[in-house]
């Protein structure tokens, strides 16, 4: 009986205390008619056998490829201290810090995480995380809907198609109107976004860098939003945010981000981290846990979950969200990453990735018939137009151990020839050389 410490004698003694004859008798409330029709699971396995099985499955994945996949999810280096600290049982095996006095470690870590992400995004307040960048965007839109009592959401088509499909799903039953403003060749069509905002619009949502990797200054757009009473929502990329003009500077009301790039492995899609920040006047609309600083009766500083009246356990059907468990350990990893890299380390990571992406763009654009999709500033990711179907090029390269990027045909109509290419600080110039040669050879 793995992980059950009872000896047979103890089991008998305990049954006697309870006053039943057998373990089965404890389940007398479940009538015979409700017992399982089948419970046909395999026999249990030893720890060794399970590990061997999972090692075999892990080997069935091919991860020793050179990859230029990004799309909002990047292979940045994870400092070793992140694993060391996040595997400490005091954090790993704790629950949500309901008992503050026994959870000052988690609570102070979350408070410091909130501080760090607020400083990174240049915003006033943060929560303790939501599930991922996409659910963070949805929650941001709902904050806007409640704050403005309006029901229309204006979304830039440059926003990740992954998030746009999530938004469409989440809003299905909510009588909200979702308006998508077409991109202008890989960049935001700012004028169209301005025009799309009306007096029923609750939120206007953009992403920087955009899904295409292009970089914008949305200051004027956000000023227009403010003038129209619209809440502006910006989705950011934390690593690049160390060098880019901030959401706060641009005047965003809510800034969210997928936090995966901060110390979280790609891990086939999760667990990731939904970072949420906002201006102070919107904090009561925020979903999820928030940690605040206070004092105990002796005046000692301490931390507690605060503003809980927003949450489901108190407000139930009227809560700001239904979220309960979040991605706390992922937030913790992001926090350790931000601390150990510091402003200088994070900026180096960002600048190196940007530099390499520009090298890759130069190399690819030099190939015959290849051009950059947008003539606009970009960061560590960019879209190129190939003279051929990008899916075919990717398939052929992949079979030779190099994934040159992500083909956008499935996400944007008419973009069958477009390839999205990402670099991180881990990408080498040599790998970029291979990329250019291999893609060149396919054209």
């Amino acid at each position: 009986m793995p992980y059950i410490p009872h000896t047979p004698e103890q089991t008998q003694e305990m049954l006697k205390v309870v006053g039943v004859a057998s373990l089965e008798a404890l389940f007398q409330d479940i009538p015979a008619s409700m017992r399982p029709r089948s419970f046909n699971l395999p026999d249990g396995m030893s720890e060794h056998a399970v590990c061997a099985r999972l090692e075999e499955l892990a080997r069935a994945n091919k991860t020793d490829v050179i990859s230029f996949l990004g799309g909002g999810f990047y292979d940045h280096h994870i400092p070793a201290i992140v694993d060391a600290l996040s595997s400490r049982g005091e954090f790993l095996t704790a629950y949500t810090p309901y008992q503050a006095e026994a959870s000052q470690g988690s609570l102070q870590a979350i408070f410091e995480y909130q501080t760090a992400v607020c400083r990174l995004l240049d915003m006033d307040c943060a929560n303790a995380s939501v599930y991922d960048g996409g659910s963070a965007l949805f929650e941001a839109c709902m904050m806007a809907v409640r704050a403005t009592k309006r029901s229309r959401l204006v979304v830039d088509e440059c926003l990740s198609p992954i998030y746009r499909t999530m938004l469409a799903t989440y809003t299905t039953n909510l009588q909200l109107e979702l308006v998508t403003v077409p991109h202008g060749g890989g960049v935001s069509n700012v004028q169209a976004l301005v025009d799309a905002m009306d007096d029923r619009t609750a939120a206007m949502v953009v992403q920087n860098p955009t899904f295409f990797g292009t970089i914008h200054d949305y200051t004027a757009l956000f000023a227009q939003a403010k003038a129209k009473g619209v809440v502006s929502v910006l989705a950011a990329y934390p690593v690049l945010q160390s060098i880019l003009k901030t959401p706060g500077q641009m005047g965003a009301d809510v800034a969210v981000a997928e936090g995966q790039s901060l110390g979280l492995p790609l891990s086939f899609g999760g667990p990731y981290l939904g970072i949420m920040t906002c201006s102070r006047d919107l904090v009561r609309q925020m979903p999820g846990r928030i940690v605040g600083r206070t004092v105990d009766h002796q005046g000692r500083t301490g931390y507690v979950l605060t503003l809980q009246a927003r949450e489901q356990h108190i407000r139930r059907a009227k809560a700001t969200s239904n979220i309960c468990s979040n991605q706390a350990l992922c937030a913790f990893r992001a926090y350790v990453t931000l601390c150990v890299l510091g402003p200088q380390g994070l900026a180096r990571m960002a600048e190196d990735a940007v530099d390499k992406a520009h090298y890759a763009a130069t190399r690819l654009a030099a190939l015959p018939g290849v051009r950059l999709l947008a003539d606009a500033p970009f960061g560590n990711e960019f879209a190129v137009v190939l003279p051929k179907n990008a899916h075919e090029v990717v398939d052929k390269c992949a079979s030779r151990g190099l994934v040159p990027g992500f083909p956008l045909g499935g996400y944007y109509a008419g973009m069958e020839h477009v390839l999205l290419v990402a670099c991180t600080e881990k990408t080498s110039r040599e790998q970029i050389g291979h990329l250019a040669e291999m893609v060149g050879g396919m054209l």
Partner: protein
């Protein structure tokens, strides 16, 4: 703690009629149930309120509660002080803790308000 010069609602608001205006707050009982208040959300001057409908909310650490308008009318004043000192509601619910002043449509409070005796009975239950 049920002043006899006021009218009450089943949802624990009190009303003081002053000519055609109603001053509204929450009762001593309501504040004692909620505990130390930390936040008050009130309508804006100029808003129209409807009897029995939500016009704001109050929060404590462990609870949140909606405030329902006892009357139909237009908000002519709100107690701005409460934004910084919600504790005034705990300390003096019928005085400093007043919330809004409403010009009652038609000059008459709506039916269905409770007398102090009726409200006392409600609390007995």
């Amino acid at each position: 703690m049920i002043p006899d010069d006021l009218l009450y609602t089943k949802t624990h608001e009190w009303v003081r009629m002053e000519d055609d205006e109603a001053v509204v707050g929450i009762t001593h009982f309501a504040q004692s149930q909620l505990g130390d208040l930390t936040f008050v959300e009130l309508p804006k001057v100029g808003d129209t309120v409807t009897a029995g409908e939500e016009m704001g909310s109050v929060e404590s650490v462990k609870a949140a509660s909606e405030i329902y308008s006892p009357v139909d009318g237009e908000v002519v004043a709100v107690n701005e002080e409460l934004a910084d000192t919600p504790e005034a509601i705990n300390e003096d619910p019928y005085g400093e803790g007043w919330m809004v002043r409403v010009r009652v449509t038609g000059g008459q409070p709506s039916d269905g308000l409770l007398t102090p005796e009726e409200y006392a009975e409600l609390l007995e239950e």
